[in-house]
Each structure stands twice: as structure tokens, then as C-alpha cells.
């Protein structure tokens, strides 16, 4: 069965410091990986997806199939980056072609 692990429940950095939120997954096929973000009092929203290889709000994430990881990185954290971040995996198989499998989430706090 597929599984997503985010080892850090809490992560604190200072403004301007680099930040890396870790995500590891287990799945035997070729999944799609995503990062979702939930800012305070807002809804869960897509931050980025691996197949688009884009940078959103300065964040990037590279899928490493050898290490089964999809870590989220930003070279210079900003206070507005403080939020809950979820790594998620998607695969289409059998009758399941819509569901996301989420990690437990990491609360990122960026201090001034």
C-alpha cells in the first residue's frame, strides 16, 4: 500500500534562512507527488506538483525515485511562509483514480 511520511511535525527557522521540509513515500509504481499548504484560517491549496517542475513562491521540490523522496525546499524563508505543509501522493489504479494519500503534515514557523 502507498504511504507518505513527513518525519518532522514542527520546523522552525529564522527569516532568510534556508528551509527543507522532508517527505518520503512508499509506492511500487510511478506516483505523482504534490505539496499542499494550509495557511492560518485558509483552505488547503496546492503548492506544487512534481510533474510540472515549477517553482511557486520560491519553493521547489525534486522527486528522487532512488531515495523515494520529494523534499520541499526554499533558499530564503519568509514570515508569510509560516503554515502547515502536506506532502501527498496520487496514483490511479483499479477503482481508485481520484484519491490523494497525505503525510501527517509539517508545521513551519518562520521567525522574524
Amino acid at each position: 500500500a502507498q504511504r507518505v511520511t513527513q518525519p518532522e511535525k514542527l520546523l522552525s527557522v529564522f527569516k532568510g534562512a534556508p528551509v527543507e521540509l522532508k517527505c518520503n513515500y512508499s509506492y511500487s509504481g510511478s506516483p505523482e507527488l504534490f505539496w499542499y499548504v494550509q495557511y492560518s484560517r485558509q483552505r488547503l491549496q496546492l503548492l506544487l506538483r512534481h510533474i510540472s517542475r515549477e517553482s511557486i513562491k520560491g519553493f521547489t521540490a525534486d522527486l528522487n525515485k532512488g531515495e523515494t523522496s520529494f523534499h520541499l525546499k526554499k533558499p530564503f524563508a519568509q514570515e508569510e511562509d509560516s503554515a502547515m505543509y502536506y506532502c501527498a501522493l496520487y496514483y490511479a489504479g483499479g477503482t481508485s483514480y481520484g484519491k490523494l494519500t497525505f503525510g501527517q503534515g509539517t508545521i513551519l514557523t518562520v521567525h522574524p
Binding site: 483552505r43 490511479a92 481508485s96 481520484g98 501527517q104 503534515g105
Partner: protein, 115 residues
């Protein structure tokens, strides 16, 4: 474009009572999903509707949970009778085409507290 709407935003009920959560998807989105996050755990999939049909209900925890989507528009999730472990945040999402690459949009969630 209106987003995915969920209500109530909060609900506090006593153990043994019934609660009905509602989700209004984005107009035209045939796919509707329910998820929940219980305290300290990950967001877990509950079920997936395509129009009014249940495509995948593999995540429904037990028969105290009943989801419906009559007419393929809004959906309800009823918990009867509620237990303490049902407390958590229930999220709804919708998409035009199945899968998260197609405008998969989440609602703000309903926070359910069972006391």
C-alpha cells in the same frame, strides 16, 4: 468562480448524537471527495463520488458513516451515532476530471467535536 463550500464550519455534539455535514462542490465538477483529519494524524481519504455514484468508498471507517450525493450536486456526510473518535476536521474536495491535476479544490473543512 465560487469555491467548494462546506458547512457547518464547526459542530460540537454529544456522543451518540447524529451530525450531518454538507459539501457544495464547484459547479460542473462531477468528482467529489471526502477526507478527514483526526487529531495528530494524517488527512485520510474517505470516499469519492462521480456524479451521484460512489466510485470508491474504501476509506469509510465503519457503517456509522453514510455519504450521499443525490442528483450529483451537493453531498452530505452523516455520522450516526457519533463517537468520540470521530472528532476531527472533515474536508471536501471537487474536481472536473478525476485526479488532483485537474483543479482539485478543497473546501475549508468542518471541524467536528464529539464530547
Amino acid at each position: 468562480e465560487a469555491g467548494v463550500t462546506q458547512f457547518p464550519s464547526h459542530s460540537v455534539i454529544e456522543k451518540g448524537q447524529t451530525v450531518t455535514l454538507r459539501c457544495d462542490p464547484i459547479s460542473g465538477h462531477d468528482n467529489l471527495y471526502w477526507y478527514r483529519r483526526v487529531m495528530g494524524k494524517e488527512i485520510k481519504f474517505l470516499l469519492h463520488f462521480v456524479k451521484e455514484s460512489k466510485q470508491d468508498e474504501s476509506g469509510m471507517p465503519n457503517n456509522r458513516f453514510l455519504a450521499e450525493r443525490t442528483g450529483g450536486t451537493y453531498s452530505t456526510l452523516k455520522v450516526q451515532p457519533a463517537e468520540l473518535e470521530d472528532s476531527g476536521v472533515y474536508f471536501c474536495a471537487s474536481s472536473q476530471v478525476a485526479g488532483p491535476g485537474s483543479g482539485y479544490t478543497f473546501g475549508s473543512g468542518t471541524r467536528l467535536t464529539v464530547v
